[in-house]
């Protein structure tokens, strides 16, 4: 009932002319603009003999990409090309977020170190990487560093594990037999961890004593898969990339190959974003007042417990929102791949596919909507998290 009267109130308020007119004109202007653009687009497309619509997604693309997670070549459709690009964007974003978080966390802590040399070096790192345009960093990694690596026959081989040359990085492929047993081990370990957690909580309420749950979990996570793979007779073989000479040209075949475009983008994104994350981490830790640490000490918590129960939960409250924003920026910045030809969503779809089909409006629309969905999805998670951790104040 109250809602209804509110609604009526609002409605009558909105119908007053000084409130109604600006809204009406905004809508009118917006509709006219859309109409104007669509009309022009129709005429222009007709003149250029381009049909509009999304049918092109199912036609053959006719172009190849040099790096794809799923099988793809020119005989696949443009829809498939979109998927290839999206997966490549997600791949580089995923690893970029992991590396940027680790690096950012380490550098952020180092910034607060009592060791003057370390904190100044970290400061230098932060100022260096966050003040340079990202596209410049990508160009630098790609054209200066990775393009000047030794040629294939003079590859650097590190620890018999990683092969580095101008074609990219080669890791050995892990080939398991009876792989499911490892998974069973992991599942069993997770179940045990839940049990231990439950038991330790119970013990904490009854006796006030803590079990080192985190350390125990680590042990379980390593031990159980190992035991299970021993029982299940799991075999592991490395398939090293092999040097093959074909018509006088040397080439590595096999293994897991990471192309230099991917690596350049990954390095640049990780370093650039980590500088911002480091500042967030530092601000988060600094935001905790000294009183909190002293209070934790005075109720008898030791160093690690006060970190775990008092400092980190409060610091995370400050660190996570801006860091999520940085993750969002990283995903958006991965579109700079177009500069070096890493086949991400922008360069495969808004670059190659667009020039093949000429369907600028549809393709740009799809690409924008894809990024928008990713952004909205991440902000949705962030909002949910913010609500969850917000101080409950009365």
């Amino acid at each position: 009932m109250k809602k209804l009267s509110n609604f009526k109130n609002n409605l009558s308020k909105n119908l007053q002319w000084q409130n109604f007119l600006p809204q009406f004109f905004l809508l009118l202007f917006f509709c006219l603009l859309i109409f104007y653009f669509t009309r022009n687009a129709q005429i222009n497309l007709l003149a250029r003999n381009i049909t509009s619509g999304f049918d092109f997604l199912s036609t053959n693309s006719g172009f190849d990409v040099q790096f794809s997670l799923i099988p793809y070549d020119g005989s696949f459709s443009f829809g498939r090309a979109y998927l290839v690009g999206l997966l490549n964007t997600l791949l580089v974003s995923f690893f970029g977020i992991i590396f940027a978080s680790i690096l950012g966390f380490v550098i952020g802590i180092s910034r607060l170190s009592e060791n003057l040399l370390l904190s100044k070096l970290s400061l230098f790192y932060v100022e260096l990487f966050r003040n340079l345009p990202l596209i410049l960093q990508i160009f630098f990694w790609y054209f200066v560093v990775l393009r000047n690596l030794p040629s294939t026959e003079k590859s650097l081989i590190l620890l018999n594990f990683l092969i580095v040359n101008v074609q990219g990085f080669y890791f050995p492929k892990f080939i398991f037999t009876n792989f499911p047993f490892v998974l069973y081990g992991i599942i069993f370990a997770i179940l045990t961890i839940f049990l231990v957690k439950y038991y330790s909580n119970k013990m904490f309420y009854n006796t006030g004593k803590y079990l080192p749950v985190f350390k125990l979990s680590l042990v379980f996570l390593i031990l159980f898969p190992l035991i299970f793979s021993f029982l299940g007779n799991v075999g592991l073989k490395f398939e090293q990339a092999k040097l093959i000479q074909n018509f006088g040209i040397f080439n590595y075949v096999g293994g897991v190959k990471l192309v230099p475009e991917f690596l350049a983008l990954l390095f640049a994104l990780s370093l650039y974003t980590s500088a911002f994350i480091a500042e967030n981490v530092r601000a988060g830790i600094l935001s905790i007042s000294k009183g909190q640490k002293e209070a934790a000490k005075s109720i008898g918590l030791n160093n690690s417990l006060s970190l775990k129960l008092i400092i980190i939960p409060q610091a995370l409250r400050v660190i996570i929102p801006p860091t999520t924003n940085q993750y969002l920026n990283l995903v958006k910045n991965s579109s700079l791949a177009a500069g070096i030809g890493y086949p991400d969503l922008t360069s495969v779809f808004a670059g190659t596919s667009l020039s093949q089909t000429g369907k600028a409006i549809e393709i740009i629309f799809i690409v924008m909507m894809t990024y928008l969905s990713i952004s909205l999805f991440i902000s949705l998670i962030l909002n949910w998290y913010n609500k969850k951790i917000a101080f409950i104040s009365k």
Binding site: I43, N115, L118, K332, N333, S335, L372
Partner: protein, 350 residues
């Protein structure tokens, strides 16, 4: 005495424990393997004099490359005899910003007004040419000048739109409010590069066939609209920080919506968000080199062109280090200045 101090100091700061000493040694190792080779490359064994690549005989950097291409890196293909026009417009900008430090607060608003409404016109007339000056088409603009032109025009034009959007987002009128929210969230959710692609290839399709909007202008409009969403969020932060009393007081004086916002609310809100606007500008300045991906001849584009020149192959490092040095200096000093402002305002509040 001094040496003793130094030893004491390093004992306290660097070698207070085993772990600390290990970290210090690691840091010293990092510095030793990176710093001397870099200094040697960039200065000691670098070549500064000469006109050709063959003049560089030492193992260090060949700054001759940068020297020979300097004008192209800075101004692109802008006609050499007219370069003073670009310089003059940047000089006017720098002088008017510098003037704002020395005049009273009362006159600062006029300088802001000048920068937002009059300076763009003067700069455009100077750079593009008119009134008997030779006309330089925007496709001939390039180099670092183009990067700065687009960044500065982007921020100046995005400002009024951003302020309107910020007001719109806080409006009580639902259509205006949700329109502003959608507009802001849309532009903030997509990467700049898609906006540039849209401006370069999609936008012409949306206009009548006989109208021709210059590519540089299209991109400038794209950047300005994109950036207005970020400015709107910054300004909104300032609006939210004002107490409700300011609105009530203005209303009780009988001011209407626009009068209240223009004379009471916005001046206070904008003052508090100047550091935020500066940060947005720095971010934009670092993003503007992206225009190289839609074929604009800005500084990275010119470097890519120069390093592919058959007489200057293998000079990529020098070019990128040069560009990096410029961007780093500008961005670093702007951001430390904005941080200083932020500290100043935050202490003023307390």
């Amino acid at each position: 005495m001094k040496i003793k101090n130094l030893i004491n100091w390093s004992k306290q700061n660097l070698f207070s424990s085993v772990f600390n000493s290990l970290i210090s040694l690691f840091c010293i190792y990092l510095i030793i393997i990176s710093l001397p080779p870099f200094i040697d490359w960039a200065f000691l064994s670098a070549t500064f004099e000469g006109k050709l690549k063959t003049d560089c005989k030492t193992s260090g950097a060949c700054w001759v490359f940068v020297k020979v291409w300097f004008e192209k890196f800075m101004y692109g293909f802008y006609p050499v005899e007219n370069i003073w026009r670009i310089n003059l417009s940047f000089l006017i900008l720098i002088l008017s910003i510098a003037a704002s430090f020395f005049v009273k607060d009362k006159f600062k608003i006029y300088i802001l007004f000048f920068l937002i409404f009059i300076f763009p016109i003067i700069a455009f007339i100077l750079i593009h040419g008119s009134f008997g000056m030779q006309i330089v088409e925007s496709r001939e603009w390039g180099g670092l000048a183009l990067t700065f032109i687009l960044a500065i025009f982007g921020i100046i034009f995005s400002f009024p739109l951003g302020v309107l959007l910020a007001l719109g987002r806080r409006s009580e009128l639902p259509v205006i409010k949700y329109f502003s929210i959608c507009f802001i969230e849309f532009w903030r959710g997509i990467p700049l590069i898609t906006v540039l692609f849209a401006a370069a290839v999609m936008f012409p399709l949306l206009l009548p066939a006989d109208t021709y909007v210059d590519k540089t202008l299209r991109i400038a409009i794209g950047i300005a609209i994109f950036e207005s969403a970020y400015i709107a969020e910054v300004v909104r932060g300032g609006l939210q920080s004002l107490s409700k009393g300011q609105y009530d007081a203005a209303k009780s004086l009988g001011m209407g919506y626009w009068k209240m916002n223009i004379f009471i609310i916005l001046p206070q809100a904008i003052k508090t968000v100047i550091p935020g606007i500066a940060n947005t500008f720095i971010a934009l300045l670092k993003d503007t080199p992206l225009i190289v991906l839609v074929g604009m001849a800005e500084i990275l584009g010119m470097i890519n062109l120069a390093k592919a020149n058959p007489y200057w192959l293998g000079m990529a490092v020098e070019g990128y280090v040069f560009a990096a040095a410029i961007f780093w200096v500008v961005s670093y000093f702007l951001s430390s200045y904005s941080q200083k402002l932020e500290n100043k305002y935050s202490t003023e509040k307390k």
